[in-house]
Symmetry: C2
Subunit: 341 residues, 2 copies
């Protein structure tokens, strides 16, 4: 029975505040490349791993969150693209490509493979299944179409607009005939928003002393839809700029994952302008995934939508890539290549 080295990224202990690379440990164990008879599992070789902001919550000790905490001393869990090396589960066979819940190691055994989607279409970059064709894609789709119910001609604002989700929301908004403005934290990202993703306007929030005034400048008639990825001061600035019957898709609040920060003022606008602010857990919408694939795959193949990834090589680069999300280091979807085949 073939036994190989298996590099792993271990969470040392629960994290407070901003995560650091030193909160994770690169180690190695050995693994047999075949499953014991009688098991009902799949053995995966990880190809691409996904770095996502929600993972920060799992680094803290769970307090009734919607996802379990990671287990200190064990590998980080996350989403990824993998190849089935061995399977004793009837739904999967050796050689299958899958995406879904995996762990930050080179090889891993999944005992509940119902968390894996089989990849049918390999005519696109496989890494896309960590992004546009995976959870972030579904997040943009559900958060924009289902939660915000956009209408042609509406005014849309997207924060963290160059990220894994934001870049898609902006493009969906344009496809829906909306006017869309995005914010991001570097000039490079702002340029991308306009030149690559087709946002009507974009600005660097770090260069605006008065966010409320900046939004007023870009939306003199107000905002119908705010796709919320950051929370905190940006939400506070958006609320007075919202229009009647505006919708806020509360997709994420990355500014508040590491430190609570000040409270948010201006919530009274929710009352006085009949706003709807709605959170959602994308996994609850996974039954819609085939419908999303039907929509998105032709758009990709016809070149009507594009997707930018920030790719780092090697499992050992994963801790820095994950930590970088919280300082906005990544440009586009943050992907870690563990192996290309």
């Amino acid at each position: 029975m073939e036994q190989v080295q298996n590099k792993q990224i271990i969470l040392k202990d629960y994290v407070n505040g901003f995560p650091k690379e030193s909160d994770m440990l690169i180690t190695s164990s050995t693994i047999h490349l075949s499953l014991p008879e009688g098991s009902n599992a799949v053995l995966l070789k990880n190809l691409y791993l996904s770095c996502d902001p929600y993972m920060r919550g799992r680094m803290s000790e769970s307090k009734g969150s919607y996802v379990d905490s990671f287990t200190p001393g064990s590998p980080i869990e996350g989403l990824g693209v993998a190849k089935v090396v061995d399977s004793t589960h009837s739904n999967f066979k050796k050689g299958d490509l899958v995406w879904g819940g995996t762990r930050w190691e080179e090889y891993c055994i999944i005992n509940d493979p119902q968390i894996l989607f089989k990849i049918q279409d390999t005519d696109v970059p496989l890494s896309y299944y960590t992004g546009i064709l995976g959870m972030p894609g579904m997040t943009a789709y559900v958060g924009f179409y289902e939660i915000c119910a956009p209408k042609k001609g509406e005014y849309v604002f997207v924060s963290a607009a160059a990220g894994a989700v934001g870049q898609l929301v902006g493009q969906f908004a344009k496809l829906s005939g909306c006017y869309v403005v995005g914010s991001a934290g570097t000039k490079e990202k702002v340029d991308l928003l306009k030149s690559k993703f087709g946002f009507d306007e974009a600005f660097n929030y770090k260069e605006e002393r008065d966010l409320e005034a900046a939004l007023k400048r870009y939306f003199p008639d107000g905002i119908d839809i705010y796709f919320e990825n950051v929370g905190g001061k940006m939400l506070e600035a958006v609320l007075p700029n919202m229009r009647f019957n505006g919708r806020i898709s509360a997709c994420g609040m990355i500014s508040q994952y590491n430190e609570q920060g000040d409270g948010v003022r201006n919530l009274v606008h929710i009352v006085t302008k009949s706003l709807r602010m709605q959170g959602f857990i994308v996994s609850h919408y996974f039954p819609m995934y085939p419908k999303y694939m039907e929509m998105i795959m032709p758009l990709i193949k016809q070149g009507k939508i594009c997707y930018i990834e920030d790719v780092v090589e090697g499992l050992e680069s994963a801790p820095a890539a994950l930590v970088g999300l919280f300082s906005g280091r990544n440009v586009g979807k943050q992907v870690v290549v563990v192996a290309r085949e």
Copy 2:
């Protein structure tokens, strides 16, 4: 042509911070008790005037609010019950009883009587048309049934629960088979909630040092529905106690009408628990008024629902009554009797 004295309550100037009685002036003018020929108006004799928290917004200079500011130097505008003294409008005739938009004076001319509802059923106290049968009743109905979509067995929390709207929401929740807890600011009100309105539990928020812990005590399994009347610190304490897929009807945020106060923390729970927080403008739902009347009138007549009013006598008592809303002085719906017939 009969000419009479007409007592009026005038707003002196726009208000900053908490309103004071001295922001209003009691004065008197004269009025003819018949309308000029060729006009298309109604002349009202006001019977009951309504004091409502939303009126605070109209005392400030308008900044794109959903209601216009009052005009300094002119009578306060508000809702009330009145008798038609003269009419040159085809929909109304002398002797009709109406409720809707009027002004704080003994007699007033309404040039756009489409803002008035004709009162058909006088088998209940006429003052009820400022409360349970008027705007606050519709607010409770829309905010609870339409916005929160309650299900039997759900956990409901109501703030400002002894007010014009809250007392109804609590009773609607019990009629819907929910568990309901209310908060209020005096022992007298807390007692009323339990003894009169049938809340399962009630507490005095002023006596709780830790609101989040208090809510945890009353809702060990969390809150499905929060009927939000106050905002600020209460909202901040509610958010961590909300359950998955919880709904927050943002009816009012009285704590923030007079002073901005600190921002609200804990909004990240909107994301992590898939919460929906929704504001609404009750007047947009007025087409549902007949449907509400069909529901509420039998409940009143069968004694299945009750309504507490805080009644003061005389137009000259109106300024103190209005100001009292913002310190929680009123117990139940605040009504001003201008004339009984």
